[in-house]
């Protein structure tokens, strides 16, 4: 049986290496778990080097160093980048920009770093700092200049939601002004912190339509000078997203404590135990583990998906979303209009579009200290 599975499972292309959950920002939509890894439980340089070697052997060709803020990880990031580069893997640093000086950028480049992705929370300082809960905007601009100065490829990432989507124009202008090669407009994904704040973050249909116009206009105006990525958020599309290209299909995540996950948020699914790099090899976990095999293929699918041709496109949608909204990780993603529990999404969308006053409860900012694991 395992042999049979091995024949069908393809090796992963990319690894998300979450070095630490610590971060100077407090974005209320953070994808990190509510219970974060304590500094003392973070993997050390040597352990990460072992992970990278195993990843390269397994077939991983791109590594994304992320967090939290990877520059806050107290260990030797340059050594990891150097190690990954020697293994001929493409390296990407996903950062808030805080702590990225020209000198640091140069050292990372010399170690082999190919791409830097800097996050912005909005197109202007006031809103950006307000959303991140930290006076970061000017430091981010300096970090971007440092990346450009040393000649690395720059991507910007902005998570979109109700509070910043109306200034999409400004965000695109900022990215052009900063000469980014790529602008990723990421829709807020409602798990963990974002789910706590969904009422505050879910945009209205009108906002989505307006943003969609601005996006189309920018694409045709800018052409191939800057790559801009955006899709209609799943709450407003009638079909779910093919999350991560499928569970355990093309990518894997290693969390700061060494837990190996099919995606950054999978740890929230109760009833699945994820294996740790300190106890098993990446190869064993990818091919043999119960957790990675849990939602491969179609056997696990509910009838709604198994009888639907779109299962080849979306694989039944996102397992984390199914669990977060229905309590059942094997349910059809409620974002699908055919899902038995689609009404959960409909209600949230209805609420986001009702003209009545929104409840005045405050936004819950991501907080590291109150949620230690």
């Amino acid at each position: 049986m395992i042999e049979h599975k091995n024949n069908r499972v393809q090796p992963p292309y990319s690894l998300l290496a979450e070095l630490t959950h610590r971060c100077p920002l407090h974005c209320p939509y953070c994808s990190n778990p509510l219970e974060m890894t304590l500094k003392d439980h973070e993997l050390k340089t040597e352990e990460w080097c072992r992970v990278l070697t195993q990843a390269a052997d397994l077939g991983v060709v791109e590594v994304h160093f992320s967090g939290g803020e990877p520059l806050l990880w107290g260990e030797d990031l340059e050594a990891l980048i150097h190690h990954a580069t020697r293994l001929e893997m493409y390296t990407n640093l996903i950062t808030s920009g805080i702590g990225l000086t020209t000198e640091k950028a140069l050292r990372l480049k010399d170690a082999g770093l190919a791409n830097v992705q800097v996050s912005f929370q909005a197109g202007d300082a006031k809103l950006s700092d307000q959303i991140g809960g930290f006076k970061a905007f000017d430091q981010k601009r300096k970090a971007v200049q440092a990346v450009k100065e040393v000649g690395m490829h720059l991507s910007l990432n902005v998570v979109l939601h109700r509070l910043n989507i109306d200034s999409l124009d400004e965000i695109i202008t900022l990215a052009e002004e900063l000469e980014a090669g790529r602008l990723e407009l990421a829709n807020t994904q409602y798990y963990n912190w974002a789910l706590l704040n969904r009422e505050k973050l879910l945009p209205s249909r009108e906002q989505i339509e307006q943003a969609s116009k601005i996006y189309e206009e920018a694409i045709s105006r800018i052409g191939n000078k800057m790559e801009i990525i955006w899709v209609i958020p799943d709450y407003y599309a009638s079909t779910p997203k093919p999350c991560m290209g499928g569970w355990g299909a093309v990518a894997l995540t290693v969390a700061p404590n060494g837990d190996v996950l099919p995606c950054p948020t999978a740890g929230m699914i109760e009833g699945i135990s994820f294996e740790n790099i300190q106890k098993s090899s990446l190869n064993q976990i990818w091919y043999e583990s119960t957790s990675f095999n849990a939602f491969r293929g179609e056997v696990w699918m509910p009838e709604t998906c198994r009888s639907c041709d779109l299962r080849h496109e979306d694989g039944g949608g996102c397992r984390c979303q199914a669990f977060a909204l229905t309590g059942d990780a094997t349910a059809t993603d409620p974002a699908c209009h055919m899902a038995p529990e689609h009404s959960i999404i409909e209600k949230a969308v209805q609420n986001a579009n009702s003209s009545s006053e929104k409840p005045s409860s405050p936004v819950i900012y991501r907080n590291y200290l109150q949620h230690l694991k």
Binding site: D57, G59, V61, Y90, S155, G181, R182, E227
Partner: protein, 106 residues
């Protein structure tokens, strides 16, 4: 076009993937699987050789590879340069290759 000098965009890296047995072009957030001829053209896009020179190099390597090769068995030079040019235009449109003008003309 034949004197322009193509160079792989700085964001791109070429790699032969031993695990899958494929040539790959690695980009931020993207992996492109290359066929053999695409890979051999891109490998020569080092910012030094013109499209003309690249065509010459590829043509002579074809000659070397085929043991019974006669000049007649090789593709027409002009046709080959045309194909390579078209491929590189596609790569430029994707933003994966940048074109530079011949330094001698500057």
């Amino acid at each position: 076009m034949s004197s322009t000098i193509p160079k792989l965009a700085p964001k791109g890296r070429l790699k032969y993937d031993k695990v899958r047995g494929n040539h790959l072009l690695l980009l931020p957030e993207k992996v492109v699987v290359l066929n053999d001829s695409a890979a051999s053209i891109l490998t020569l896009c080092d910012g030094k050789d013109s499209v003309h020179t690249i065509t010459e190099k590829l043509r002579s390597s074809l000659q070397l590879k085929s043991s019974q090769a006669t000049t007649n068995g090789l593709p027409d030079f002009q046709k080959m340069e045309e194909d390579i040019t078209n491929f590189l235009k596609e790569m430029v449109d994707q933003g994966w290759v940048v074109m530079q003008y011949d330094r001698a003309q500057e």
